[in-house]
């Protein structure tokens, strides 16, 4: 890397990442955003200090994400202090300003004088095929671990359950009750729902597939009547769920 190629490369990466983060679709935004928040500010900072300090490779690997995180915190505070909202554009612009500022500062601080010690690799490891294969195998195993753990968590739904709910609704010409039943059991289920509003009784029988919701809006005769809903899960669970809307007082309160 020549003396000027570093800043130029960073500036080019910055422009590309900015465009991708603001305008590109989701898959491209991810690497662009990661670069903007976790890499480029730190890279520009380490580039800027190289005129005065000697940094070894491990230090650069640590300082790049570390200083990037710090920069993001400080940039966020400054944007807020400037009474600007923290949007995609303001984040992108602020990070760009900081990165370019650091690159300019690096130019002023003087020439690069760093010497980076390089670990000489033995013949065994110098052939890249073996370490690459080892790393790839390890990454595959880690990916497998993630899939396994995610499967475990997603499939842990416990015993399965059903939700029943009801609310008074005041939209429309007549008083009504909005109700819903959601099936989170392990499969389809047959339900019987009994609704008692004052002296009126209504019964609904229905089947719901797993993950599906039944929604109804049921008019009731008197807006002040108490309403009781009892859900049975057939064939065994009578009074499986119940909700109750307390009768309203004359002033409209319950």
């Amino acid at each position: 890397m020549t003396r000027t190629a570093g800043p130029l490369t960073i500036a080019s990466a910055l422009v590309a990442a900015e465009i991708a983060a603001v305008f590109a679709p989701m898959p491209l935004r991810v690497p662009a955003g990661l670069l903007l928040v976790l890499v480029l500010p730190g890279l520009a900072a380490t580039q800027a200090v190289r005129g005065r300090l000697t940094l070894e490779r491990t230090e650069v690997i640590m300082l790049v994400p570390g200083l990037s995180l710090v920069t993001s915190v400080l940039v966020g505070l400054l944007v807020y202090a400037a009474h600007l909202r923290l949007t995609t554009v303001s984040w992108g612009l602020a990070i760009a300003v900081v990165v370019l500022g650091l690159l300019a500062l690096g130019g002023r601080l003087g020439e690069r004088t760093d010497v980076r010690p390089r670990v000489r690799l033995s013949g065994w490891i110098r052939s890249r095929a073996v370490p690459v294969a080892v790393i790839l195998c390890s990454l595959a195993m880690i990916a497998g671990a993630l899939v396994l753990a995610a499967y475990g968590e997603r499939s842990a739904t416990g015993g399965g359950f059903t939700e029943l709910w009801a609310l008074r609704t005041h939209t429309g010409p007549t008083p009504a009750v909005a109700l819903g039943v959601t099936n989170h059991e392990h499969g389809s289920a047959h339900y019987r729902l009994q609704i008692v509003a004052g002296r009126a009784i209504k019964v609904l029988s229905f089947e719901l597939a797993r993950g599906r919701t039944l929604r109804r809006r049921l008019p009731i005769g008197n807006a002040r009547d108490g309403v009781t809903l009892t859900l049975s899960k057939l064939p065994h669970h009578l009074d499986y769920r119940h909700v109750r809307l307390a009768p309203l007082e004359a002033d409209g309160s319950q």
Binding site: L69, V73, E163
Partner: protein, 655 residues
């Protein structure tokens, strides 16, 4: 061969550079000696990575590379253990420990071996640090788990939604006042389009990488040995907070990486940077210090105190370095105090448990109160003999290594050497570790002692590493013996870090943070957000409170921020007028009642929050009548029934 040419080749071979060409020798030597800062400050490890001169390049390479797939296999074993644990399998714990063994022991062998090269040690500490982060992540890879991460998730959500800072967080009011973690996460969410969970996990993972590498480089700069640095980092990774608490989406995790970065930069400024580079280092330290001060209160307090002690105990050094050190310490104090005074004064009230813990310790010393029983679980979960043995082994081993390390420092003159400032400060901060045992004997201090380990282990790890690498007794020990010691530390640290019921996921437990978060609660909260609308005032138990806050975007009533305690409503066996007036006083609209609370004692000691009746002293589970009473109250509407969780409209509950 001329002498300078011979010397040049020697320098080159140390640096791993190719031999210089003919005629370039003198110039090359001049260039390198000028850039190797400290002006050829004797070409010792001040500039050169310390063990470059001693390392035997190429030895142990197969072993060093093997730790990567072995750690990956360990992660597979942990994932399998998690899968089994979700299904309630008995032997999931054995698989979990096998996974940790595969991660920990091979890497320990590489680090503890005297033959390993510096790069191999670095690889090993990174593998351990990142693998342990992934071990925790595998416990819940699709959503946040635990209690505290939900609070920071809420703060982040509000920054992402509003684009503004300092939005109220009703359950953790100090979280928005220290928005560092949330700011970085919000930036990632906005610029990548990722969810808060994924972005937050990436941030904490990167912070872990910075912490682990920063610690290694710091110890290496101070100890002048790659082996010592590797061992110290390994011992730090065994501290009880490392595997669980410091891997969570918490502001402390990010602040810790910043604080370690500060210490590293200060050490760099004192021992490696040339004088003309000091202003640049100071500028970097200033930025990181400010970021630490706005990210986490306790971390910034502790590390600023560390910097102050560092300045006070520093031996004689050139004026420029002394000024640098004092400037850093004073800037740290200014940043922390200014942030506290201007924006975060509420944190003083929030930190009351610290003073409670201290006063409990004092009254224990004066024998005015009885001590807390060790290994006492609040819930009904049993503490096994193995867990007790592991915890004792860890404490005893750490204390012994600490004492041995301090003795070695005295014997070898490390406390008076050129890098004595850091060595002395490490030693002083490490002394807080045995003192923290006192806190474990008090109810309020037990949690505090656990949290302290994150900070005091920065010093403890260094002292322990000095003991392992320099004490004559341990130097005689074979590699296998040292690996066993490292294994014991990891085992005990893991046991102390989390109770057995929290190490692995599994079926629902009452008030058990990650173990209480399951689909019923999440769906009830989502229903509340979608059907009742956002921002309703709700009252709920501890876990449903955070679910309603995040998934449901409701506004929970919480003693810490409301100063109205509604917890008695959940404990009364009969619905009374007082319950109604309490709820009305707190402007609560909906009440979330989880009937599972009646099935067991709370694992965390409280069903709702620390101010509740009988907190941390519950002897019997909540009576059934306490949750069924709401069905008998005439003016309450039961609007939602999800099986275990019911939601009541209590807007007209008043007398």
């Amino acid at each position: 061969m001329p002498l300078y040419r011979h010397f040049l080749l020697k320098v080159d071979s140390r640096l791993g550079l190719r031999p210089a060409g003919k005629g370039q020798g003198v110039n090359r030597l001049a260039a390198e000696t000028s850039t190797l800062t400290h002006a050829v400050d004797s070409l010792d490890s001040a500039v050169l990575p310390p063990e470059l001169s001693r390392r035997k390049v190429g030895t142990n390479v197969p072993v060093a590379l093997a730790i990567v797939p072995l750690a990956a296999m360990g992660l597979l074993a942990v994932a399998a253990a998690d899968l089994l644990a979700w299904r309630g399998a008995q032997h999931a714990g054995d698989l979990f420990w096998l996974g940790l063994l595969l991660i920990w022991l091979p890497a320990s062998a590489v680090i503890l071996s005297e033959r390993s090269a510096r790069g191999q040690r670095i690889l090993a500490v990174v593998v351990v640090g990142m693998s342990l982060f992934l071990v925790h992540f595998l416990g819940s890879p699709v959503r946040f788990a635990g209690f505290d991460p939900f609070l920071h998730w809420d703060t982040t959500n509000k920054i992402v939604q509003t684009g503004r800072l300092f939005n109220a967080n009703p359950v953790l009011p100090v979280s928005p006042l220290y928005p560092g973690l949330e700011l970085v996460t919000a930036a990632l969410v906005k610029l990548t389009g990722l969810s808060v969970f994924v972005a937050g996990t990436v941030v904490v993972g990167v912070a872990r990488l910075v912490s682990i590498l920063g610690l290694y480089l710091l110890y290496e700069l101070v100890g002048k040995s790659a082996r010592l640095a590797g061992i110290a980092t390994l011992v730090y990774a065994a501290n009880p907070s490392f595997l669980f608490q410091d891997s969570e989406y918490l502001y402390e995790a990010l602040a810790l990486s910043f604080a370690i970065l500060v210490l590293y930069l200060v050490a760099f400024g004192l021992h490696r940077a040339p004088s003309r580079g000091l202003p640049v280092v100071w500028l970097a330290v200033a930025g990181v210090l400010v970021a630490t001060a706005v990210t986490h209160h306790i971390t910034s307090f502790f590390f600023v105190a560390f910097l102050l002690v560092l300045a006070l105990v520093a031996p004689k050094m050139p004026r420029a370095r002394r000024v640098f050190l004092w400037c850093v310490a004073l800037l740290g104090i200014a940043a922390v105090v200014l942030w506290l005074m201007l924006l975060a004064s509420r944190v003083i009230a929030y930190l009351q448990p610290v003073s409670t813990g201290v006063s409990e310790v004092l009254s224990l010393i004066r024998r005015e109160s009885a001590s807390r029983q060790l290994f006492q679980n609040y819930g009904t979960q049993h503490v096994s003999a193995g867990d007790k043995a592991g915890a004792f082994a860890f404490s005893a081993l750490t204390t012994a290594l600490l004492a041995l390390g301090l003795w070695c420092m005295l014997r070898t003159g490390k406390l008076n050497g050129r890098r004595a400032a850091f060595v002395r400060t490490f030693a002083l901060s490490a002394l807080a570790y045995p003192l923290s045992f006192l806190f474990r004997f008090t109810p309020a201090g037990a949690d505090l002692a656990g949290r302290l380990s994150t900070f005091v282990f920065v010093g403890v790890a260094f002292c322990a590493a000095v003991a392992i690498s320099e004490s004559p007794a341990l130097r005689r020990l074979r590699l296998g013996g040292l690996v066993v010691i490292a294994g014991l530390l990891a085992w005990g640290g893991t046991i102390l870090g989390a109770p057995s019921w929290l190490r692995l996921p599994g079926p629902y437990l009452v008030s058990a943070d990650a173990r209480s978060i399951e689909p019923q609660g999440i769906d009830a909260a989502r229903w509340a957000g979608q059907t009742l609308g956002e921002g309703n005032r709700i009252a709920a138990d501890r876990v449903n409170t955070v679910l309603m806050l995040t998934y449901g975007r409701q506004t929970p009533a919480w003693g810490l921020s409301d100063r109205v305690d509604v917890t008695p409503v959940f404990f009364d066996k009969r619905w009374t007028a007082r319950d109604g007036s309490l709820l009305r006083g707190a402007a609560v609209h909906y009440l979330v009642v989880d009937s599972r609370l009646t099935t067991a004692l709370p694992a965390r000691g409280v069903y709702i929050e620390p101010g509740e009746p009988g907190a941390f002293h519950h002897r019997k589970p909540l009576p059934k009548a306490a949750v069924t009473k709401f069905d008998r109250a005439k003016r309450l509407s039961r609007v939602f029934d999800g099986g275990s969780i019911a939601i009541y409209d209590v807007s007209d509950a008043g007398p």
